[in-house]
Symmetry: C2
Subunit: 346 residues, 2 copies
């Protein structure tokens, strides 16, 4: 008996999208039960549509060499758009991977809303819509009895959302504390281990492809703030904005500060933290000196970590999270599988 | 509209069972959606049955003072047994919390099998049946389209099973490495921080109520081996037994060993480890000298931790897990909620 396929639309076909396709190809045998069938791949130029399922191997090969998917010989066309998918409705899950816009959330916001309203599950890597309107999106998902997987938006391979929802089920999360940005972690490590000042360490990180040419988002703390905001709103049922977080970066730290801390057995980390104090939520991103008994102390290099404290399940720290497009794609696949398996995230 | 209740039978009413009842009482408002209704509480002397749901507050008060639940005024009787529950069938989930027997698994094994066969979900804290027959139990659960929650059997509040199944979904676990026993961790810490020898540190652990009067299971490594075996069989789909694990304890370590390691910046931990080498699985429990860059290095005192490596999601280390009956009960509640929410563990 052939199992019913899980019909997928991939919206946004950049690095993570292509890695996701490769993953579906490489894990074909393991995914037999889920039987994923990609009916659509769509990006801003147009898309590919095959109601019988796009040949993943062929498309993976094609897209290694050719970025214009509208040229794909079987079903590729500038006419295939998000709206044509909505009109056809032959989809079970929409994977939304368009570029993040933190001011408007578009085009992801519209994609996600319309997909949920049409009864499609959504899994997304797009931080913008989650930052700006998670509560609203959650309501829409619930109303339409579909799921919204957002694991990739806060930590990628590090299962911050899973851990907060599934692993802490039945307990209340009282605080969130995380080392959530690999770039600043790398820079601080570099300063400590080689004794170079910030600018030099940043340059090294840029040469290693870890920091971007414009590193502002990372080094000024905004990437950490974004992830902290998503975790706080999702796991503590809040509707905070970036304005509610006191954000400081790492740009003014000196090697002498780091060395002084090291002499006391301490380490500086850029920590994002949400703590409920009486009835107020305090949210901050700033350099903190951690003692060795803090489980975040040892989170080095490109690793990330988050620690939750709770009322009945004690503390939980999760450390890990490989970086890059394949682990990010694997976190999309994780959400997809868990939704297929019946887990409820909203 | 009143929601349909989730009807529960509590089988085995020791410390964790009573803590679980208190948790249901304390979290009544939070659990409104699930609407748990305890129809049975049964132990070896008999039980309590109320088809409309036992008054949890009253029973919690009663059982603080009185261990013989058959004396409970509303529905308590020596005639109420596991079999009477099977005959009535007015249950959705059986919480199996009878004492562990690692040789026969009984009476838990029979309870779990019959419950699953009768179409009840099962959540258990009982290591015996899981150790001896997880694969068989999983098959029975699948065949009867019900779930089997075993989170409490390996790490309690530390979500080792959740993390391995849900947080690593879509990736293959290549190795498992854990500091899974709080007692040995405490003893090794004590030796390091105060410079006393093993016997002295053990005595302290016993006085603090952390080590048992007969500490063999902990200090000889068998508790760690048991948890490692469960994780290996469940997460790597194996059918190993304790005989397949090379087990060494901590009883012969000297303070001088610990100090020598400390001078090199290393720490001794009792590590349970499963690694796939070529086509063979190597399983061991033994003292290992860990470097500071190992995420298990900082797992101190009563904390526990496990680290998974995977093919596509990188490494994941989880650290935490409060000890005691309330966190253990909270891990039972976690499984219950996740099963209610639709997560599939088998």
């Amino acid at each position: 008996m052939r199992r019913k396929a899980m019909r997928i639309a991939i919206i946004g076909f950049g690095g993570v999208g292509r890695a996701f396709l490769r993953l579906l190809k490489d894990k074909k045998d393991e995914l037999k039960e889920i039987n994923p069938q990609v009916n659509y791949v769509i990006d801003y130029m147009g898309g590919i549509y095959d109601p019988e399922g796009i040949d993943i191997e062929k498309l993976a090969d094609f897209s290694e060499k050719n970025r214009d998917i509208t040229k794909y010989p079987i079903g590729g066309s500038p006419e295939i758009t998000f709206d044509s998918m909505l009109a056809n409705k032959d989809v079970d899950v929409v994977i939304e991977m368009t570029p993040t816009n933190k001011d408007t959330g578009e085009p992801g916001m519209t994609h996600i809303i319309k997909s949920l309203e049409n009864g499609f599950h959504v899994v997304t890597s797009n931080k913008g819509p989650i930052l700006l309107g998670y509560k609203k999106l959650k309501e829409i998902a619930r109303k339409n009895n579909v799921q919204l997987g957002i694991g990739c938006t806060s930590g990628g391979a590090l299962p911050t959302i899973n851990a907060g929802i599934i692993d802490m089920a039945g307990s209340n999360i009282l605080s969130i504390e995380g080392v959530l940005n690999g770039t600043t972690n790398f820079i601080l490590n570099e300063m400590e281990s080689t004794g170079v000042e910030y600018q030099e360490a940043l340059k090294k990180a840029q040469q290693a492809g870890i920091a971007e040419t414009d590193p502002t988002l990372d080094v000024e703390g905004w990437d950490t703030a974004t992830k902290l905001l998503i975790l706080t709103n999702v796991l503590m049922n809040e509707e905070k904005t970036l304005d509610d977080i006191k954000v400081e970066g790492i740009t003014s730290i000196k090697v002498s500060d780091i060395q002084e801390a090291a002499e006391n057995g301490q380490k500086y980390k850029l920590v994002g933290k949400t703590v409920r104090k009486e009835d107020k939520l305090e949210m901050s991103v700033r350099l903190e000196k951690l003692n060795p008994d803090n489980p975040l102390y040892g989170v080095d290099g490109k690793n990330k970590a988050v620690r939750y404290t709770s009322d009945t399940l004690g503390d939980l720290t999760i450390i890990g999270g490989a970086s890059g497009v394949t682990p990010a794609a694997a976190s999309i696949l994780r959400d997809l599988i868990n939704i297929y398996m019946g887990c409820k995230f909203v």
